[in-house]
């Protein structure tokens, strides 16, 4: 049986980074907003400081089938429940660079974005003021034009000081890492305590997760968040050119239809295309045939080492303490491969879990492992390169022949890195080892390629032939259907995506409000 419930102005599917910001902005302008969130309700007081508990925040919805040589790592890379992935994201918030928007015109590869840096710069500036980013824009010599950060930089603890010496010896620069984490009290949120529990979700609100920042604003405006509400289908009128609502299933499996003037998909880069593909024969908003295409994931180049000095690896934020972007601009001037990468230096590390030092050297067991763990607890150092992933049409989300309990096809995600992106990752790994050697590491080694962040799948562009949406995330085929999140990125750049997700979403929200009657008519 299908239950119909009220009509609302806007339905937002997903309560993560994009959904919560969109909900706050639209509701503050007087729109009646309902968020459908597939996962359970999470509260700040649920965020137990434990790497074992942290796993509960991971994707727990319908399984995603994955293949390809470098599978997308959906469970590790996605969250589920209030705040989505962003609830336990590490808040490393650098900006994309000018080149990232012009990869096609500069290098005749991949795509240009339909906007350039100057279009998005004011939104970066406004978001950083609104949310709070700690950093030092002068030390960040690579950063494109923009306002100074509103908060002083994050402190450097022993681990980053030790590793920074290696960069300096090789003539490379380091700066404080830009983090959406409060270095002092800001916007009613407290300063960080630098205890490294961000991966388990920050319950103090020092880190700008949706639960800390935009969801409380949305809730203040009476935004209704329905949890355990997995959207199954976007409904359209007979013409197929207007979205009229969303069908979802509640926890007990009941089918419910909610009507709205506008629908915003903010269910992240795998579930947004799944929803579109399941909503019409051949996929909704899919004139381009590109719904699902060009999914990307930054390749993480992991570098580990042991140092004679005390590194206090337990101090700091999970995202790290310092940044280097010497290998960012001039994408065609890398030692191997093509693209941009940045180093995030000195992550706070715990003993266990995939990113813990226990997992860094899986060949060790028995007495040697015991010895290693004791030493690593005080002398471990690590850094991670975030390596650009060039978009490929065959890297895509499609519908599987296997179905969930409601008969909805599961998402199937294929991902194999572009050969030039893979080469870029190899080069980054090698550079990392040279830096650790120069820093005086007594032992140094690399981890395997780890997929990090998910982008693409519903890319933006100028026309319905080459993209799914315009630069505002508005579907070319359906005016009142919007997409928000990193799924819109036509290229990945070599920086973490969520600051850009915020800037784009703010821009879209203003476009929606300024054009409301035209958009919904």
């Amino acid at each position: 049986m299908t239950n119909h419930i009220d009509k609302t102005d806007v339905i937002i599917v997903g309560s993560g980074a994009a959904g919560s910001l969109m909900a706050a902005k639209l509701s503050e302008a007087g729109k009646k907003v309902t968020i459908l969130e597939a996962g359970p309700e999470r509260r700040l007081e649920d965020l137990t400081s434990s790497q074992i508990h942290a796993r509960r925040l991971k994707w727990g919805g319908d399984p995603v089938e994955e293949n390809g040589k470098q599978p997308i790592g959906n469970v590790f890379n996605s969250g589920y429940g209030t705040g989505g992935s962003a609830l336990h994201h590490y808040a490393v918030w650098p900006r994309l660079h000018g080149e990232d928007f012009k990869v096609k015109s500069l290098y005749n590869r991949a795509f240009d974005w339909p906007i350039d840096y100057d279009d998005i710069r004011p939104y970066y500036d406004r978001i950083q003021q609104e949310v709070g980013i700690s950093g030092d824009h002068t030390a960040e010599i690579w950063r494109p034009e923009g306002d100074a950060y509103p908060l002083p930089p994050v402190p450097a603890f022993q681990q980053s000081e030790v590793i920074a010496r290696g960069f300096a010896k090789l003539g490379k620069q380091t700066s404080p890492l830009p983090l959406a984490v409060n270095s002092r009290d800001y916007q009613g949120r407290p300063a960080c305590l630098w205890d490294g529990w961000c991966d388990a979700g920050c319950p103090t609100r020092a880190l700008a997760s949706p639960l800390a920042h935009y969801l409380p604003k949305a809730i203040k405006q009476d935004v209704n968040i329905i949890h355990n509400a997995a959207a199954a289908r976007i409904l359209t009128d007979k013409s197929g050119k207007k979205a009229i609502g969303v069908k979802y299933h509640d926890k007990d499996g009941a089918e419910i239809i909610l009507m709205a003037d506008m629908v915003v998909l903010a269910a992240y880069a795998i579930q947004n295309p799944r929803l579109l593909l399941n909503s019409a024969d051949g996929g909704l908003a899919n004139r381009s045939g590109l719904v699902g295409a060009y999914i990307m994931s930054h390749a993480a180049a992991l570098v580990y080492g042991l140092f004679d000095q005390e590194t206090a690896p337990y101090m700091g934020a999970t995202g790290g303490q310092m940044l280097n972007q010497d290998s960012y601009d001039h994408k065609d001037q890398r030692t191997q491969g093509f693209g941009s990468f940045q180093w995030m230096i000195a992550q706070a590390v715990k003993p266990n879990d995939l990113l813990g030092y226990g997992g860094s050297n899986p060949g060790l067991y028995g007495a040697k492992l015991t010895e290693f763990m004791a030493r690593a607890a005080h002398h471990f150092g690590t850094m991670t390169a975030c390596v650009e992933d060039l978009p490929l049409p065959e890297n895509r989300v499609s519908l599987s022949s296997n179905k969930d309990r409601f008969g909805i096809p599961l998402a199937h995600a294929h991902h194999t890195s572009h050969a030039d992106s893979y080469a870029l990752w190899r080069g980054a790994k090698q550079e990392g080892i040279e830096i650790f050697k120069a820093a005086g590491a007594t032992e140094f080694w690399n981890g395997p390629l780890g997929p990090m962040h998910i982008m693409g799948g519903t890319i933006m562009g100028d026309t319905a032939e080459n993209s799914v949406t315009n630069s505002y995330g508005q579907c070319h085929d359906i005016d009142n259907l919007f997409i928000a999140g990193p799924g819109l990125f036509p290229t990945s750049g070599g920086v973490n995506p969520t600051f850009t997700v915020h800037a784009l979403t703010l821009r879209s929200s203003e476009y929606i409000l300024n054009n409301w009657s035209g958009v919904i008519s």
Binding site: T48, S49, N352
Partner: protein, 182 residues
């Protein structure tokens, strides 16, 4: 974690559950002994930290709340067959190589076996086991998963941070090291 004891439910750490001999829900005694033996050889201390109780408890947890590292690793739930089939494969392979059951292996023998299983398929490690037919995970993958589980219980707890002389600095301390309210 909530363990069933008689008619009631009590919250215990896996180590406490082990000391109090809380009955297992998913694994039988032989599987528990084999799991303890192998995991303790990979991560010394895992057995007394209560690894078997941790895994056993998590095997019956709902997927959404599951705390096993396996959920990251592209294996879909339920996870029980993953462990039980690999333990069976371990026994088959050990018997073939050493002509004795796993628990009779010397320290040198189990260490030698682990050095093989972490890198490649040991002789006799089946792809499937029969009755009921189950797919067996590759030995290096099983090693990786079991090692990670064992590191979780041996090093990922408030007590183990104390033992390593590193501060835990919890915002919200787990009521028990990895207690789950479920």
């Amino acid at each position: 974690m909530a363990f069933l004891l008689g008619d009631g439910v009590i919250n215990l750490t896996p180590a406490e559950a082990k000391t109090r001999k809380i009955p297992f829900r998913s694994l039988d005694q032989k599987q528990v002994s084999t799991l303890d033996f192998l995991s303790d050889a990979i991560v010394p201390g895992a057995k007394s930290a209560g690894l078997s109780h941790f895994i056993d408890h998590q095997l019956s947890a709902p997927h959404e709340d599951n705390l096993l590292i396996l959920r990251y690793l592209r294996i879909n739930p339920p996870f029980k067959d993953f462990y039980t089939s690999a333990l069976k494969a371990f026994e088959i392979s050990v018997r073939l190589k050493y002509n004795k059951p796993p628990l009779d292996l010397s320290e040198a023998e189990i260490s030698e076996f682990i050095s093989i299983m972490r890198q490649k398929k040991p002789i006799g490690w089946p792809e499937f086991i029969e009755e009921p037919k189950q797919e067996v995970p590759p030995a290096p993958f099983f090693y990786f998963v079991l090692r990670s589980d064992a590191i979780d219980v041996t090093y990922g707890t408030v007590n183990s941070f104390d033992n390593m002389d590193i501060p835990y600095m919890a915002h919200i301390e787990p009521a028990h090291p990895w207690e789950s309210p479920s």
